[in-house]
Symmetry: C2
Subunit: 328 residues, 2 copies
């Protein structure tokens, strides 16, 4: 089963999420609608609503409630809201191989449309149930995690002192927390037991960490067809697991030498970047990161062991393996 | 009674709001705390929490509940969040006469810290009461209004076709909606009747419109000591009530001539700006705007007539007059 097959399996529920997203965003302001349409026409994989729907089905024996549709749509809206803000924060001109809203329409539109998507996500969660405060707290914690994660990453990039604990906190905040919100809200919407909600959370957190580690591995080893040159993260002074793994293998002296170059990367961006990519490969940073990746994938799959056998559960397992195996 | 006297009257409740704001923002991320401290050291008038506390007291006969403190703090957090985002959208280097976070620390920090303040506002509202969904909807509508208002303003500035209805919608969305959230949440926290909540809303909306109209009047007539040159709005192609009033008085031909210049303002910024400031004065745009301002102030005061006599009510009346009379 691949991503396309999962979407087909989700069928009418997948369509309901797409319709929910479109109708939530509708406004009578032309500039806003045009911007929304432009974003929606490059939607990417939409992993978060996919996760959310699969988890709702895995917990309920196949049923997807109206609330589950709204939470799935909210997860995607919130994700895109943060991308719109991150593009401004990172000055990114391209995403998913297409020009960002920031580069097309300016940082003002990117910030304001991000705010709009964010509030539409909140409104969906508020509308999903009579007592929405429990799920609202899940999503608002995620939003707080996202902002804190970006700030911590910025601070660490400026100081150049990221260690593995910092890295794990950053990727939990930036990626896993929203996976968690998508799966926990889905489990709650299915009336899952506390134990099952906990398992949904464990699956989502492990999957989110694995997903981000894979992203960071691809930055050092992917094909350049993804649209970014290898080692792009290091140009932004982001220290990710492949680099931290190479540090662990290389010893203190070599680590210090490389950290000095990263702090000074703007002086020789191309030269230092090539050198650091080579350093990561020479000191087996990729193997180090792949081994962590595999243990998070295993943990994610393991968390599903308490779920009854179902096609939805199989798809969640499939998604975990896809995360590790994808090439972009 | 002036602003300072109102703060003294609010006494321990005012302090509780300040403490709530500080403790809500506390994080273990140094960059975030440093940025928060810098913003808090230039807090401005804090009109929104002032309004919120006065309304809570006016509705309850003087009592201020814990929920009211949280809503007042949330209103201020949300206001600052939108300023942080607006500074990025507008490219503003200064606010309240001091350098913006954007100019000091970059647009990335301004966007991300804005997101953080926004989610802290939401968390306060969520925590304020067992069933928070009613007030949550009030605040999330406001957040949606704010984003839509900024987008509409941007669209209108680009097209150059703002009319008075557009203007009123923009200033309702940008300013009055948050005044409304501050007052309506306060009235709800005091257990006010539906009729009283409605009066609180009417007061807040009229006051918010008056407040923004006064801001827009000051842009054409204030002392330049405020830190902005006269007519700064027109450099951003923002058409505000003094200009629209001058259009109404000047006739179609003159209006078209001026609109063409505004659309082309970047070609002769200083020359056209001076010409437009002179046009607004010559065609009594300021008088037009002052007359609207006064009727909103009257409407705000009128909405308070159903409230029992109290010092809090007197202060709300005072605030409405202050709005019209302030010189910066």
């Amino acid at each position: 089963m691949d991503i396309k097959a999962i979407k087909e399996y989700l069928g009418v529920d997948w369509l309901a999420v797409q319709n929910q997203i479109v109708s939530s965003l509708k406004s009578d302001i032309g500039l806003l609608n045009a911007t929304n349409d432009s974003i929606l026409s490059h939607s990417g994989k939409q992993l978060r609503p996919m996760l959310s729907l699969l988890m709702a089905k895995a917990c309920s024996g196949g049923m997807v409630s109206d609330a589950a549709i709204k939470y799935a749509a909210a997860a995607e809206l919130l994700h895109n809201a943060t991308l719109l803000h991150d593009d401004v924060a990172d000055g990114s001109d391209k995403r998913r191989g297409v020009p960002t809203i920031m580069s097309l329409m300016g940082s003002s539109v990117s910030v304001l449309v991000g705010d709009y998507w964010l509030v539409k996500a909140m409104e969906l969660v508020l509308d999903a149930a009579d007592d929405s405060s429990k799920v609202m707290k899940v999503f608002s914690k995620t939003l707080s995690d996202l902002a804190e994660g970006e700030m911590l990453q910025l601070q660490k990039a400026r100081k150049g002192d990221t260690d593995e604990d910092d890295y794990l906190r950053i990727i939990y905040n930036k990626t896993a927390s929203l996976f968690e919100a998508a799966c926990v809200s889905a489990a709650i919407s299915s009336g899952a037991s506390e134990e099952m909600v906990k398992a949904a959370k464990d699956y989502a957190v492990a999957l989110g960490l694995a997903f981000q580690i894979k992203d960071d591995i691809l930055d050092y080893s992917g094909t350049e067809a993804v649209g970014k040159p290898l080692g792009a993260d290091i140009l932004e002074q982001k220290m990710t697991l492949p680099l931290l793994g190479a540090f662990a293998n290389a010893g203190k002296e070599k680590e210090t030498e490389i950290r000095v170059k990263i702090n000074d990367i703007e002086s020789h961006p191309e030269e230092y970047r090539n050198e650091i990519v080579a350093f990561v490969k020479e000191y087996n940073g990729l193997e180090y990161a792949v081994s962590r990746l595999n243990s998070y994938v295993e943990a994610a799959v393991g968390a599903l062991s308490m779920f009854p056998d179902s096609e939805a559960r199989d798809s969640l397992i499939e998604l975990a393996h896809f995360t590790a195996d994808r090439i972009m």
